[in-house]
């Protein structure tokens, strides 16, 4: 049993530093006068927080407009935008068209991320193990109990698998990561769909719950023969032993920016009403199957159009100039085709009190 401090601590410290740095720079924002724009307020997804604060930092330097983003969780973000206390909300889970219309909202994807199954198996190197959706579902539902089960062996004829009990690790807190993971399992496995379903928190049939991505990463690292799921950035930064997945097309794919972007590009956003599209189990040979986007919500007819106008400017800027920073933080920027669609959506549906479009 090796102690994972060495790998975890630097990332913990790094994230603490980022938070400290951001909280220092974000609230001191009287310089907004320079551009005449109001500071932007947003709330929601914790997954969106690191890139939102990075963008906010750069955007403030370039334009003088600050962004105050509270990472209170996706559910909280939806509540806040519905009660109009923030200019935009952000969630890992899209709203249905009915919900959007009821609240007078539009939604659009801002950034893409992926969820990676990670394992701790002696003698198995990162990326060596291959799983498909059905097997993953059977493991997490508790039907496959041992690592040398025939189903896992069939996918990994060359890997020496131990005859150990599988220790399952899942998120204990409600999270968009869990939503994407369970949504994928529900799409590929009817038994999972019937027994567990898809949500940001579910009734787990088996396993230990750990708090946050860092909690799951920590427990997986120190529990022998365990499997869990974390966001891509955590798997990468902690050098965890990730699993390659067999996708919908039956091709084995490696998680990474290319395969996440493939999933986003292959999705037919134009045909999805209200851009309500979860990218899991996407078509395409190169698509990573557990991919998802962060959705941002705007009010169609905001009470303060000038606030929304500056929020639109921010996201317009993020689409145009934020890609390098996103990639540096292991996020995936939206493909060009999708941002064109989003900009068209802004033009068509966001109006000020005089009925004039807020984005041109």
């Amino acid at each position: 049993m090796r102690f994972p401090r060495a790998a975890l601590l630097p990332s913990l410290i790094a994230s603490l530093l980022t938070i400290a740095a951001c909280s220092k720079s974000a609230p001191t924002a009287p310089a907004a006068v320079a551009s005449g724009d109001k500071d932007i307020s947003g709330a929601g997804s914790t997954f969106f927080y690191p890139i939102a604060s990075k963008w906010a930092d750069t955007y403030k330097k370039e334009t003088g407009t600050g962004l105050n983003y509270q990472s209170i969780g996706s559910g909280g973000g939806i509540k806040q935008i519905k009660s109009k206390t923030v200019t935009f909300g952000a969630s890992d889970k899209p709203l249905s068209v009915e919900e959007l219309n009821e609240a007078g909202l539009i939604q659009f994807p801002a950034i893409i991320g992926g969820v990676i199954p990670v394992v701790n198996l002696e003698g198995v190197t990162p990326g060596q193990l291959v799983l498909d959706g059905k097997t993953l579902a059977a493991i997490f539902v508790g039907n496959i109990k041992k690592w040398d089960d025939a189903a896992i062996k069939a996918l990994n004829p060359d890997v020496k698998l131990p005859s150990a009990d599988i220790a399952i690790v899942h998120r204990s807190d409600g999270s968009g990561t869990t939503f994407l993971f369970t949504d994928y399992l529900s799409k590929v496995d009817d038994n999972w769909k019937a027994k567990v379903g898809a949500n940001s928190a579910v009734e787990w049939p088996a396993g230990i719950g750990a708090k946050g991505n860092e909690g799951v990463a920590g427990v997986v690292k120190q529990t022998a023969a365990s499997i869990g799921y974390v966001e891509y950035a955590y798997a990468k930064q902690n050098a965890m032993s990730h699993v390659r997945m067999s996708n919908k097309a039956g091709k084995i794919v490696e998680p990474g920016i290319a395969s996440f972007q493939a999933a986003a590009a292959n999705a037919d956003w134009a045909a999805a009403p209200g851009m309500n599209l979860v990218l899991t189990n996407a078509e395409g040979d190169a698509s990573w199957p557990i991919t998802g986007a962060v959705f941002v919500f705007f009010h169609k007819q905001p009470e303060k159009p000038e606030n929304l106008a500056s929020a639109i400017k921010f996201f317009d800027w993020a689409y145009a100039k934020g890609s390098a920073e996103a990639i540096a933080l292991d996020y995936v920027p939206m493909p060009e085709a999708v941002t064109t669609l989003v900009r068209q959506l802004w033009k068509d549906s966001l109006k000020d009190s005089a009925g004039q479009p807020l984005y041109r």
Partner: protein, 329 residues
């Protein structure tokens, strides 16, 4: 003392004028009403908290009825919620914490008051008070990264092996050794309640009149006999009060428990299995509870915890009151 005396002397009684008297009366009135409203604020706050909890949990309590207390199911997808698993986890972790914490705390208190050399006494007392000052998140991180792997590798396999096949106990210690679970949470809690129980019991042990103890020693009692027959009977209510304070702390502890309990809404027979507590469930799930019923069920859990800790603390107050009356005799 000296300072008070020197302030009082230069103002002789005959120098008080009518205006000074009025001023004094006014200030007294201000003090009286000011402090009274400060005290009333506490009652209003408490009342407000209870009212909000009841209002917030109304939806869930009216939907599930008394079944909320007896259902193990906690399914956010189908929106069926029951509090049995968190209640079970809360009570069981606290029980383990008390089973480990009480003997050690009382042992420390006896050593400090009866046997310890004065110099060491100060060092140990300070160390125990520092233990109380460590933030619970630190206990959580320590539990997850240090204690849990240690238990998993060295303690739990031995426990599982030792009790395997023994009826009843075998089930209690069954397991794969995850390192994380109800047992680990109980151990962390026992460390966290140590300073509370120790400092209260130490203080009440010191209220034992020296003459009593000296008489016993003069009759030829050993230290053990003095502790067993004089100190403990004299202070029993106070000791129980201290234990109740510790129990109150253990019941409500959130962060440290969340890290090491495994957060599974399940009642497993084994204490090595993952479970959950009321406060851990709330902390984990509140931010992402999207539907009204889900939120309301979490608030109902809060109300339950409030009732449980309130009962425990009320019992503690009663015990301490009885002690004070006894000491005043």
């Amino acid at each position: 003392m000296n300072q008070v005396a020197s302030v009082a002397t230069p103002a002789p009684a005959n120098s008080i004028t009518a205006s000074a008297l009025r001023r004094h009366t006014l200030w007294d009135a201000v003090l009286k009403h000011g402090t009274r409203s400060a005290a009333i604020t506490v009652l209003l706050l408490l009342g407000g908290v209870i009212a909000t909890l009841v209002q917030g949990s109304w939806l869930s309590l009216s939907t599930f009825g008394p079944g909320f207390l007896t259902t193990e199911k906690w399914n956010p997808v189908s929106e069926e919620f029951g509090a049995l698993a968190p209640i079970y986890g809360t009570l069981l972790t606290s029980l383990i914490a008390m089973l480990i914490g009480i003997p050690i705390s009382i042992g420390i208190a006896i050593f400090l008051t009866e046997l310890c050399p004065p110099r060491l006494k100060r060092a140990i007392s300070t160390a125990i008070e520092l233990l109380a000052g460590i933030p619970s998140i630190i206990y959580g991180i320590w539990g997850l990264f240090v204690l849990a792997p240690f238990l998993q590798a060295h303690v739990q396999p031995l426990m599982i092996e030792a009790f395997a096949g023994v009826p009843l106990l075998g089930g209690l210690f069954a397991g794969p050794p995850y390192g994380i679970g109800i047992f680990t949470a109980g151990i962390i809690l026992s460390i966290m309640v140590l300073p509370y129980i120790t400092s209260v019991t130490r203080d009440v042990f010191e209220t034992v009149p020296p003459t009593l103890k000296e008489s016993a020693y003069a009759l030829g009692c050993t230290t053990w006999e003095v502790v067993r027959k004089i100190v403990l009977p004299f202070t029993s209510t106070g000791v129980i009060g201290g234990i109740m304070l510790g129990l109150g702390r253990a019941l409500g502890e959130t962060m440290a428990v969340t890290f090491v309990i495994g957060n599974a809404h399940k009642i497993a027979g084994s204490i090595l299995a993952p479970g959950t507590t009321i406060s851990a469930s709330i902390a984990n799930e509140f931010t992402e509870a999207e539907t009204a019923l889900y939120t309301s069920s979490l608030i109902s859990l809060g109300l339950l915890l409030f009732l449980i800790t309130f009962t425990v603390l009320a019992i503690a107050r009663l015990m301490l009151l009885r002690l004070q009356r006894q000491a005043g005799k």
